[in-house]
Amino acid sequence: MARIHDMWRLWLRQNWWMTAAIVALLVVGVLFIHSATHLRTDRTRFLDIQQIRWAMGGMAVYWATIWLDYRRLRDAAWAFYGLVVALLVAVLVVGAKIYGARRWLTAFGLVVQPSELAKLAVIVTLATWLAARGRGATPPSIWKAFALAALPMALILKEPDLGTALVFVPITMAMLFTGGASWRPLLALIVAGALAVTALLSIVLLPEMLDMRPERQEALFHRVGLSHYQRDRIEVFLRPDSDPLGAGWNRRQSEIAIGSGGMWGRGYMQGRQNLLGFLPRTVSPTDFIFAVIAEETGFAGDAALLGLYVVLLGCGLMAALQAPDLMGRVLCVGITTLIFSHVFINVAMTGGLLPVTGIPLPLVSYGGTFLVSTLFTLGLVQSVHVRKAG
């Protein structure tokens, strides 16, 4: 009895602001998945019901994780990391090809996206590694940390899934930063990264600007290793009007959707772009759900949505601040950065600030694996929170 009572008290210590924000985001997600799919006649019409099931399962995982002492992850971290790498290799070999990329694994009637698990694995492993090194000694090696992240990243890049792969960079950086790494090499890394991006853009743009013959351009791109779809997306991002019906379609349509929302939106289930299918039906409940919300609720609605994320991220960083140990702290920072990266990339992409890349909006976009794994990571944040000192 006493034990159950203790568990109950521990559970009650969760950060209720955070839980409220999560539930609110889940509700918003289900509502707008419904809005995006209710006119359909095929089985994707019931994605909202599906999402409710995932959300309920995910919440169960979330609340159960509170009782899981995050420190016990140390024991499983490396095994988990190994398993995820194995899954990532497997997905490249036997994964289901959807929309030109191998990202999904089907096992026991369950469709799993190993790249989502990989984020979790890297965060947990990195936290374990940083905490194991302890504080006070020499600052952690940035190269070792990046080597840890680089293996799954490379495998994900191979799928190809550039967006997901890129998420590893800010997560690793933030965790290193909080974990005591000296900030100079980190800054140098950022500068180097910026230079690399600039170089990449030059490679994409310069040949044409220099009037290079198409065959030579093609050969050059081949040597650099840029695939067609990557180049197209970068092109489209830089010159959105170059191909409004092809690769530029999603970007242009999501911008129209957001823009036509105005201050107050067209009203729930009233979005022209959404209902008439100009926001492609394959992505409107997933990666472009933000455009649906923005069109139907306007600036007022999407700013409020960002407000919910601010609450969520704030709670995550609070948990990091108040964490009882280094592992808890970097774990919370990693998870918070993960959520933040997704929100930022997704909203920036739908709003035309970044190239289109397949990054879902946490807790809102349709998608089972990501939803449950996100809720599990947030459960870990709560697990740190309820074990704070005092």
Binding site: F177, I258, G262, M263, F278
Partner: protein
Amino acid sequence: MAALDAGAHDALRVAGLAALMAAALLLLTANLWRIQVRTVGKFDQDAVEQSTRALRVPGARGRLLARGGEVLADNRPACNVALDLAVFRRAGRWARTVDEVLRELDELRHIIGRPPSLTAADIDRHIQSRLPMPLIAWRDLSPEELARFMEQADGRPGVDVVVEPVRAYPQGSRAAHVLGYVGRAGGDAEDKRTYQFVLSESEGRAGLEKRWNKELCGQPGTARLDVDVTGFRRGLTVERSPEPGADLHLTLDLRIQKLAEAALGDMPGAIVMLDPNCGDVLAMASAPGFDPNAFLPVFSASLWETLNQDPAKPMLNRAMSEVYAPGSVFKPVVASAALSSGRVTTETLFECAGYAVIGGLRIRCWNTAGHGSVALRRGIEQSCNAYFAQAGAQCGWDAIYELARRMGFGQPTGIDGYYEVAGVLPNDAWKRQHWHEGWRLGDTANCSIGQGALAVTPLQMAAATAALANGGRVFRPRFVRGVQRAGEAAPAWLAPVLVRDLQWKPELARAVRQGMYDVIMSPTGTGRRARIEGAALAGKTGTAEFGVKGSGSKHTWMIVFGPYEAPRYALAMLFEQGDSGGSTVAPRVRRLMQSVMDGAEELAPDGSHT
């Protein structure tokens, strides 16, 4: 925090992280503000533009009404069966959707009882270019077909009866040449810029339907179709209702029109009857005729081809679109010119020996025995060629040409109908241009008896007759006397147009009129067979040879006005073939004028009055 040594240091780093995130989210919010609030309207417009199509909705076509208000051209509802393709959309290639539509059409075919007017290629074309519009599979269901459809197929998903207004001519072929007919409008270039789709609309192709098309059409309305990304219709909003076209109140008197058409029968010819006091066309008939309903609801090119290639030329409006040698009906014009010139008086005598020789040309008179000494009045009554050849020569062609021109020959009368030809009024310049030789005295003689190069329309002849009847006032003939726009209680009446007043001296006009009176009222007059009971008429017969000389091909004419004292009718009647104006046309004029004056409805087949 006590749990960690470097608490403050770490807290700073977490706070730095928080600041970074906050800045990034602020950037996102600013971007959203820029797109959503700052650029107001632009994206909204883009969204509406790419998901809507403008549809041109025609206004109901105006009606054509006879003088008494009888409807000559109307609109009737035609029931079409239309398919909504969105319902038959099948995933995958479009061919699967086409198959699905064909399957449905096949089922409907058994219910309606006739095959649809569509092929797979038509459906394909519809998908390509008119996807959000209903696909019309059957046009103009008969009442039986409609009943079968309503009983067995009503409520079938995606299948609907769509009512479309179709032009109808309740009087059939009555006045068909005047009214004309309609076809499907192609839409002009401006419409194609403004509208993506145009609902089929009737467009005048001939007659008043064509000439007054703009007034009859009214103002088109606009509807907005909401389409999804594949182009299917999701909704329709009427943005601007169409305005119906104007009704035209015609000058045609349906009773007289019927009588005129009966008088023509099947013989190729034409009748024009004007009101000499204002130029109103009371009747205009041309035979043979056609039924404009045959072009409805869908204009058939093959039928048009057939009618157009018919040697009897049923589509030709002989009353104003074809020219004929006037023959003797031109003589009153010559008489008026001669008197006006002063070189010939009512007393001037010319010898008729059964012929006259003018400028080396021998002009034969129909009376081979000769009329002896002839003055103007008897010259007209007897239609003496010798008299007119000499009178014309004495007067000189220039004076005749001038008056004839002022009476409307050699140019269109300017009637508000469709397709009027000018005819030929020759003179020296004309002859030099066309025949490359100068005008001779013989030409004057020939033209003075209505032969030579002279060519007139029956309408010009009727207009000249009206001027002779009213003492020299030339009115522009007209079909439309009032235009009633939609929603207006009364039509806007149009004033008659007096083209010119020839300002004839009364005694001059009287002299020519008296001659024309004698033509009908004198026992020896060439047009005596046109005499009727109860009213005095005046007129002139005419017989004009055409084609190869001596071939016996003759146009036969008669012009008439009456009642003599206060004329209300001016008539020109022509048959393309006949013996002579006096024997072929005059009896028909008598029957026609008798019925017109009596107020009778129709002619009985034997010519007696009903």
